[in-house]
Amino acid sequence: MRGATHAKWAALATAVALAATACGGDDSGGGGGADGIVSSSWGDPQNPLEPANTNEVQGGKVLSMIFRGLKQYDPKTGEAKDMLAEKIDTTDSTNFTITVKDGWTFSNGEKVTAKSFVDAWNYGAHLKNNQKNAYFFGQIEGYDKVHPEKGEPTAETMSGLKVTGPQTFTVKLTQKFSTWPITLGYAAFSPLPQAFFTDHAAWLSKPVGNGPYTVDSYSKGSQMALKRWDGYPGADKAQNGGITLKVYTDNNTAYTDLTAGNLDLVDDVPASQLKNVEADLGDRYINVPAGIIQTLSFPFYDPAWNKPGQEKLRQGLSMAINRDQITETIFQKTRTPAVDWTSPVLGEEGGFKDVCGEFCKYDAAEAKKLVAEGGGIPGGTMKISYNADTGSHKEWVDAVCNSINRALDNDRACVGNPVGTFADYRNQVTSQKLKGPFRAGWQMDYPLIQNFLQPLYYTNASSNDGKWTSPEFDKLVNDANAEPDIAKAVGLFQQAEGILRDDMGAIPLWYQNGSAGYSERVTNVSLNPFSVPVYDQIKVN
């Protein structure tokens, strides 16, 4: 009996070893050079992959590869440059005439015309199509007919969009918006081929666009293989043979796979690995600022938090947070302490400026004084709410609370309030159930100072979750949008930001960096201001 058992053990052990070594081969292949395939980590997109329905990074990655719009944001500077737009003319910042470049096609051979854009935008805006980014078309005249706030749509298309020629169309906005053309680089404004409308299900299972890559195969939830499209007419042709996006159940596993040499690119280094990343990857680790800011919002809908004089309390709380220490110890410098409500990726010309000043500097004594002058924390204790499921929010919320408690010399001034899932958290935020400050994050849609201020702090704006409101701020934003001179418009936005600071409508915490790591097989890897890898420029050795 004893012998038999031993034999079984030995057989089993060898079987395990044999099978294990047999699967050690490499299938990421595809050779090197210009035809080499890059494998990259991916997460399952949350919504069906349609340009106007994708509002998160994972689906956005694919759109950035298979679509090109009227404008394209420079991967380094974020500047909006003409892509398919021959020219965009306006005399009054309300009526725009757009000419689409000739000679562009979709990868299925269909020509990209003015109609491709108008049809796509009308589809994106229409209520019955359930597009989550529909509000991007909200400035176009007739949007309220196809997407009413209540009831059924009364029109099929927006009256402000008109095709005037094979390659030209006109857009009429409901109000002046001088920087509107800059928004057109956003994926929601991509053109769509007729195939999208004629066989929608087939298109969804294998999307067709006009970008440098085409979808070779797509098995939902696990993998998408993109191939370089050799017929691509643009200047930014792909420098590699294709990109294989692999869905990972956990970004830790993706990172492990990278270090084991089975994966070429990870564009989200997990927080738990930040300590080892320098040792593991050396200079193959990228950590650059992205257009993301994190803030603390206040429940202005709650009378306890909306009394006159409380701006001193909010300013005091802001000064009680030691941003330098938290970004260094908790985030390993993957966050940059905030000095305004925008992002460094805008650059000085785009409106990034130290507006916050002393209010964003740690000063315990001043903080204590201001909080007292502002009437103290309502109820004696404030709870900072956050979702505990993703994003390691617990660590920094606890740190922020510790910092506040220490500065105010009061152990009970601040505690964290975890909410189980993101969906539940968002539910409590939007239904205004939170009785204290809560975490907020904003990833820009396009590199424009307007995008950091208007959706978040304009009265009743779509993402103004705390319901902060200021007539002066609203007026300055309106003036800025109507100002045709971009430099002057930026100045007005900064004045508006000053109002936001004086009332401390939200506490800016830090700007988030994009982080990525790559294997020795690839070079020329970079992240754009949206923290998405610039896939078409990656070279395979």
Partner: protein
């Protein structure tokens, strides 16, 4: 026996409805699933209302449950938020997890029972003590520690396996994850078998068999093992369901796109259709496994007969 099976099958009906209703209520209590769909910004109210209508979330919960159960019986498990049919998700996820579970059960049976018999026959021997200590260690260490450790050592340091299982999840790539998933149960199977064997070794019928002059291997396999296996079979049977549902940790570590992964995603995104659909199937698996265990008793021990 036939009547017993029918009675058991009938008992399964309330359990099935109760379990699914509980899950349905739990997922719904967590709040509005649409709120998380638009990211860090509020869905515009019109789109949100339209989505709620489409997913049937605008009706009261009891009505949603009735509609849902009605659809389930026609094989329609609804649509996940990313536009995929839940049945399609199941068709992708279940084969993978079933394969993983089979690998785990295989290890439980082969390694667990062998070690159990070995130690049961050699009580107090150094081999026995060693195995007992080892099982204690395995039970004490959480699965994610074993998993991450094996992944790091075998996958990254020594390069024997790939740290992440590929999309198709072939059998050979599932050996290490299967072992990790099985580890804790395996230790229990070993201990259960050991105790059972040690107890029955002194039983009259074993002494009789030995006295009759039967060969040692026949005494052990036909007489001793057969009677000692009843508690072990019970454990392994109920473990089938537990393994399938509890694979969340293992599947996450090794990048296996199975039931655990889909459930995890479903819970994070608060996708009622996915969560309830998968749990419904898991409940069925659990019930069937338990029924099979009960029927196996009669095969193992003819004295156990059900009226």
């Amino acid at each position: 026996m036939g009547r017993y099976v029918i009675r058991r099958l009938l008992q399964m009906i309330p359990v099935f409805f109760g379990a699914t209703l509980l899950i349905f209520l739990m997922v719904n209590v967590m709040g509005d699933p649409i709120a998380g769909l638009c990211g860090d910004r509020q869905c515009d109210p019109a789109t949100a209302a339209q989505l709620e209508k489409e997913f049937g979330l605008d009706k009261p919960v009891w009505q949603q449950y009735l509609t849902y159960m009605g659809n389930v019986f026609t094989g329609d498990f609804g649509t996940a938020f990313n536009g995929q049919e839940v049945t399609e998700l199941m068709a992708n996820a279940f084969p993978v997890t079933i394969r993983l579970t089979l690998v785990a059960i295989f290890f439980e049976i082969v390694i667990g029972i062998s070690l159990g018999v070995l130690t049961g026959l050699k009580r107090g021997h150094p081999v026995d003590t060693t195995v007992l200590l080892l099982t204690l260690v395995v039970i004490a260490i959480p699965t994610f520690v074993t998993g991450l450790l094996l992944q790091l050592l075998l996958g990254v340091k020594w390069g024997w396996i790939k740290p992440a299982v590929s999309t198709d999840a072939p059998l050979d790539e599932l050996i290490v994850p299967g072992l990790v998933l099985a580890s804790v149960s395996l230790a229990y199977v070993t201990r259960l078998t050991r105790t059972s064997i040690a107890e029955n070794k002194r039983a009259d019928y074993v002494r009789t068999a030995v006295a009759k002059g039967l060969p040692r291997h026949r005494v052990i396999t036909r007489h001793l093992l057969r009677n000692s296996l009843i508690p072990v079979v019970t454990f392994i049977g109920t473990d089938v369901g537990a393994l399938m549902g509890g694979a969340i940790v293992t599947e996450r570590i090794f990048n296996i796109h199975g039931v655990g992964y889909q459930l995890y995603q479903g819970i994070l995104r608060q996708n009622t259709q996915t969560v309830v659909g998968f749990v419904t199937v898991l409940v069925l698996v659990f019930l069937v496994a338990n029924l099979l265990v009960d029927l196996l008793y009669a095969v193992l021990d003819p004295r156990i007969r059900y009226a």
